[in-house]
Amino acid sequence: MAELLQVQGLETQFRTREGIVHAVNGVSFNLKEGETLGIVGESGCGKSVTVMSMLRLIPNPPGRVVAGTAMYQGKDLLKVSNEEMRHIRGAQISMIFQDPMTSFNPVLTIGRQVSEPLETHLGMPRKQAYDRVAEMLSLVGIPNAKDRLNDYPHQFSGGMRQRVMIAMSLTCSPQILIADEPTTALDVTIQAQIVDLVKQLRDQLGMSMIWITHDLGIVAGLAERVNVMYAGYIIETAPVKTLYGDPRHPYTLGLLGSLPRVDETDRRRLVSIEGLPPVLYEKPQVCPFAPRCSHRVERCLKENPPLTQVGPEHFAACWVDTTTGREWQ
């Protein structure tokens, strides 16, 4: 599979009253054609900021992408003109946002909003665009799609609105679909509907996908490869089965241990990761997870570990080999 998107050394900062927050601190990853990549992490770990930086959606000020490249079709997304970027965003790379309640314009009809990418990117006349939108809406499972084009966002429920959002992101048949916690605001039975729908559409349309979430459960059934993020770094990346079956970074181990499972047989005490994630007013010089880590050695407080290979396609950023508990030689 060819590499479709290559992100190298991405760094993003935010200027706040308290100082500069180093939200993303040098993130590199690739997305292959047809692949689904999961990015997981807790709030504030930089997972959303990573993709927003890549798409140039970070408001400046206060945010600023200070370093890195994001190569797509031989072009660096961080360098192309605004005009060119607008052609890529929404047409070739599109995004589904977390909150279906606030991501629509409340005073425009659904038909108007969903047809907008078609009109802007493909120059389709409105009438034809509306027909296409009706098709898309029925594809994502909205009943009587034609009659609902003139409805406003508030006339749809949360799950239905998320379906509309998916339809909107797919109108121009993008190559890459980025989903930023698209099911977090939804109930579990509705979440299952949406995940199922996205999977179907992905296979049908042959898209590549980046799925951002804090829910390790969803990614398990959806992604082929997973990046785990902490404090603005990717701290572990592996094919999905390797990551869940043989996690190596202490944070990933802790995260998986802290999750109870619905199919669990006996009652065990949950592993809890003591302490809190750091606030990143300075770019970490030592391992950012060290203060909470149970495997900590002296070196962790002196140097920040780089991502190193620990298995086939499996990388972790830790000075300690967690399988033996000893420092790597």
Partner: protein
């Protein structure tokens, strides 16, 4: 866990009126938030109460504590019907039942120090004087794993997980026997959730507390509960021991709900047959006739639309409301 009943809820109903009109207010309808729910909570157990948003699980919790006065039904706690008690008598009963709220950012007064928040219950109930209450606050803070020296700090100085510990300490101040935990961890990050759940479990062992644990996270409820009740659109659809609910769910809604929960294990996910419910939760203003779940139920028949299924005990301790079981 004993079989001694601490709390008995019978046919609890809570409707919220919908009013219309600017000068002459008229009731034009009602939200059927809780519609005839009956269950018991045993001393020392954790009863998990699960369901999707709007199913009435929080309203049930609040109606038990009389924070919402029920429309009808009874809540019998230590031999007394709370629905019929009021005034001073109810206030005295409140000492024994406390609540932990969902949002640790909104449920603590930002202008009070943590010490004042935790000490307030004992002062309000006149159990201790100020001096003794300070001592009690220190005790409680160390009990929930916070430094007693933090008593003079304000809520904004704490993280979400620490704030929730403050909420727990406040709930424990009066030595209650029942604590209603209303989604106590859903506002917290995954690694912090485990900290709070472990704390709740430790406190239960140490103090012999009884919990009504309200949540929408089925995995967490499975982890913490002895018995589990499932609600849908204001009615209870199933109630049984934890293993019965998770291994042998009888109600089609429970089955669908369980199959919708993602498992953090790609190999298990691959093998799974997922049952995906069609449609959405109907409005509680105008709930479907008969069985509330029939509009989304894959097995619904004619009788489901005509008659409301009876709440019955199919095997000892396993209650279900479905015509087809």
């Amino acid at each position: 866990m004993s079989q001694e009943i601490l709390l008995k809820v019978e046919n609890l109903v809570k409707y919220f009126p919908i009013m219309k009109g600017a000068f002459i207010r008229k009731q034009v309808g009602a939200v059927h938030a809780v519609d005839g729910v009956s269950f018991e909570i045993y001393k020392g157990e954790t009863l998990g109460l699960v369901g999707e948003s709007g199913c009435g699980k929080s309203t049930t919790g609040r109606a038990i504590l009389q924070l919402h006065r029920p429309t009808s039904g009874s809540v019998i706690f230590e031999g007394r019907d709370l629905v019929k008690t009021k005034g001073e008598e109810l206030r005295l009963m409140r000492r024994k039942m406390q609540m932990i709220f969902q949002d640790p950012y909104a449920s603590l007064n930002p202008r009070m120090t943590v010490g004042e928040i935790i000490g307030e219950p004992v002062l309000v109930h006149g159990i201790m004087d100020r001096k003794a209450s300070e001592k009690r606050v220190e005790e409680l803070l160390s009990l929930v794993g916070l430094n007693p020296a933090y008593a003079n700090r304000y809520p904004h100085e704490f993280s979400g997980g620490q704030r929730q510990r403050v909420g727990v300490a406040r709930a424990l101040a009066l030595n209650p026997s029942l604590i209603v935990c209303d989604e106590p961890i859903s506002a917290l990050d995954v690694s912090i959730q485990a900290q709070v759940v472990n704390l709740l479990e430790d406190l239960q062992k140490q103090l012999g507390l009884t919990y009504l644990f309200i949540a929408h996270d089925l995995s967490m409820v499975r982890h913490i509960s002895n018995r589990v009740a499932v609600m849908y659109l204001g009615s209870m659809v199933e109630l049984a021991t934890r293993d019965d609910v998770y291994y042998h769910p009888l109600h089609p809604y429970t089955q669908a709900l369980l199959s919708a929960v993602p498992i953090p294990d790609p190999i298990a996910e691959e093998k799974r047959q997922r049952q995906i419910l069609k449609g959405e939760i109907p409005s509680p203003i105008n709930p479907p006739s008969g069985c509330r779940f029939r509009t989304r139920c894959p097995h619904a028949t004619d009788i489901c639309a005509e008659k409301r299924p009876e709440w019955r005990e199919v095997t000892p301790g396993h209650f279900v409301a479905c015509h087809l079981v």
